[in-house]
């Protein structure tokens, strides 16, 4: 049975169709990549799955339970964690306190939450930043804190929205290492979106390609990139973009 089943999910904003009848299954232990050019509807799909937007049509089940009409925080409590593309923190909480908020999903006790948070920070190799404020950290470390916070909530599945954005190649390498460890050592399934292909290709067992809100391909990374429709959707967009940029310059 699939851990996460997305059935015919559509999301409209007024007249705009952000997602159109997208379906896929994610099994326990999967690392599933969700790719597509900018504006393909990846983040919208994430928001639909995680309960941040109500669906226009379709349904989502998680662990065999229908979560279509559940609220965002109820879905989170079932073990579906997500990270955000833009992680804003105004800076009232220290790093350790931030991670503790994740731990508090599973316990009421401050001492237990603190212990679990310390464990997560340690796991991600940023134990020394615990006392700092979020705003004092570089972007790469902030992303790790976001991961640690999600990890502290002890999820079954993590939805990672563009975790690689804004990182340099060596930081991305480190991130891939971390994600692999989260997957293998904590046995957490992963669903990641990325418009930087490099990371998804290195991590995913399977990838799904979205374009203009529709699923256009699904399969192993190596096969999918050969799919002519994917090449057209993906590279075409990039080529057009590059030409525009060149034209501007």
């Amino acid at each position: 049975m699939a851990l996460l089943a997305v059935n015919q999910v559509s999301k409209h904003f007024g007249g705009l169709v952000a997602n159109h009848e997208v379906s896929f299954d994610l099994y326990e232990g999967d690392v599933l990549g969700l790719i597509g050019p900018n504006g393909a509807g990846k983040t919208t799909l994430f928001n639909c799955i995680a309960g941040f937007y109500p669906l226009t049509h379709g349904s989502v089940t998680f662990g065999g339970k229908d979560i279509t009409n559940l609220k965002d925080f109820q879905i989170a409590r079932l073990g579906l964690a997500r990270t955000f593309q833009i992680f804003q923190a105004s800076g009232d909480l220290t790093v350790a306190e931030n991670v503790m908020v994740g731990s508090f999903m599973r316990t009421r006790s401050r001492s237990l939450a603190r212990k679990s948070a310390e464990g997560c920070l340690d796991f991600l190799g940023i134990a020394d930043t615990g006392g700092a404020m979020m705003t004092e950290l570089p972007v790469a470390a902030q992303k790790r804190v976001a991961l640690a916070t999600a990890l502290a909530s002890d999820p079954k599945l993590m939805l990672l929205d563009e975790v690689g954005a804004g990182l340099n190649p060596s930081e991305i390498e480190g991130l891939i290492e971390i994600l692999k460890r989260i997957h293998s050592e904590r046995s957490i399934s992963l669903l990641l979106t990325e418009h930087v292909l490099e990371m998804v290709m290195a991590m995913s067992h399977r990838v799904i390609v979205l374009e203009s809100g529709k699923k256009i391909a699904e399969g192993e990374p190596a096969e999918v990139v050969k799919d002519p429709e994917v090449v057209k959707a993906y590279l075409g967009d990039h080529f057009v973009k590059r030409r525009e940029e060149d034209g501007d310059a």
Partner: protein, 334 residues
């Protein structure tokens, strides 16, 4: 019980802050035996009351970031419950206060539910509206004395602990000081509780908080109710201390804003903020009023200066006095 342990756990506070807090507490304990004028005593009592109001407000407004400008309605509920029950049925303070607290908290749940569907300015103005509606209703409600308000009868038999009537102000002072310490411990426990952390996470970023399983709407309502409890109890005390309550005094927008200002000036979202704020604002208002308010032809000058100072603070140091402390500390860390 971990909750009790949390309330007494000050380990995460810097030594310097604890030292200052200890000195301050010693001063408060000794204040009545030090030489002082009765005006200074009255000002100290106001300081303690406004510290408690501000501590309550800080739970939802500071830690939760929800700018509540309607706290006066709960001062009114607390004060009127105590006054009405004493006038009509001779109910002592110690029984009417918990009842007033329960009524206020109950009301806070009822209006908190729709209120917290709103955010930002919309929330702030809606809190004003609810408070003014209640005030206007009290002004036309004969049962509670209408706009003229209520006068509490003298029960005699001083010192009267049942009805909280004393000849000497230091009785009131020490009762308030007891509430003040209790209030501080509850804030400290709250700060370390799951709700405390969750509320700060909501203030930081509500979407992230929800993704961590936090029911933001319900958490805010709970913190709002706890904040209300502080305000209602001090309201009950106010009725006994003042002997006279009227809607214009205790349910006005000015009081709501003043309550919020304590925390805002001292530093919203920090434990000492409301106390710092009250220790600056209350004496300032009180002495400005004493100095200028009474003089013929100068009516309004005290509040004019007061308004000017508020404007200046809001413009120059929006994070309050404690914000300066934190900024200095952050710079030193680097």
């Amino acid at each position: 019980m971990e909750a009790v342990k949390n309330a007494f756990d000050f380990a995460d506070m810097p030594k310097s802050e604890l030292t200052i807090a200890g000195l301050g507490m010693a001063f408060l304990l000794l204040f009545p035996v030090l030489p002082h004028s009765s005006f200074a005593m009255a000002t100290m009592i106001q300081f303690l009351m406004f510290s408690l109001y501000g501590m309550g407000w800080n739970l939802i407004g500071g830690y939760g970031g929800q700018v509540d400008l309607g706290k006066a309605q709960y001062v009114g509920i607390g004060a009127y419950t105590t006054a009405v029950m004493m006038i009509r049925w001779d109910v002592p303070f110690w029984i009417s206060t918990p009842i007033g607290l329960a009524l206020a908290v109950g009301w806070s749940f009822i209006i908190g539910y729709p209120l917290f569907r709103l955010k930002g300015h919309y929330f702030a103005i809606a809190t004003i509206a609810t408070s003014l509606v209640l005030k206007d209703l009290f002004e036309v409600w004969d049962f509670v004395g209408g706009a003229r308000g209520l006068e509490l009868p003298l029960k005699g038999d001083f010192p009267n602990w049942l009805y909280l009537q004393f000849r000497e102000d230091y009785y009131y002072f020490y009762i308030l000081l007891g509430l003040f310490v209790l209030g501080l411990l509850v804030v400290n426990g709250f700060r370390h509780s799951r709700l405390g952390y969750q509320l700060r996470a909501i203030k930081d970023n509500e979407d992230v908080a929800k993704s961590l399983g936090i029911d933001a709407h319900w958490s805010k309502i709970k913190a709002y109710a706890l904040a209300t409890a502080y305000v209602a109890v001090v309201g009950s005390f106010h009725a006994c201390y003042n002997f006279n309550i009227e809607p214009e005094d205790i349910m006005s927008l000015d009081l709501s804003v003043l309550i919020a200002m304590m925390a805002m000036l001292g530093g919203a979202g920090s434990m000492w903020g409301p106390i710092i704020g009250a220790s600056i604002l209350v004496p300032m208002k009180s002495y400005l009023g004493d100095w200028l308010g009474g003089q013929a032809g100068l009516a309004g000058l005290d509040l004019l200066l007061y308004g000017g100072i508020i404007m200046f603070i809001a413009a120059a140091q929006p994070r309050g006095v404690y914000g300066i402390v934190e900024a200095v500390r952050a710079r030193r860390r680097k």
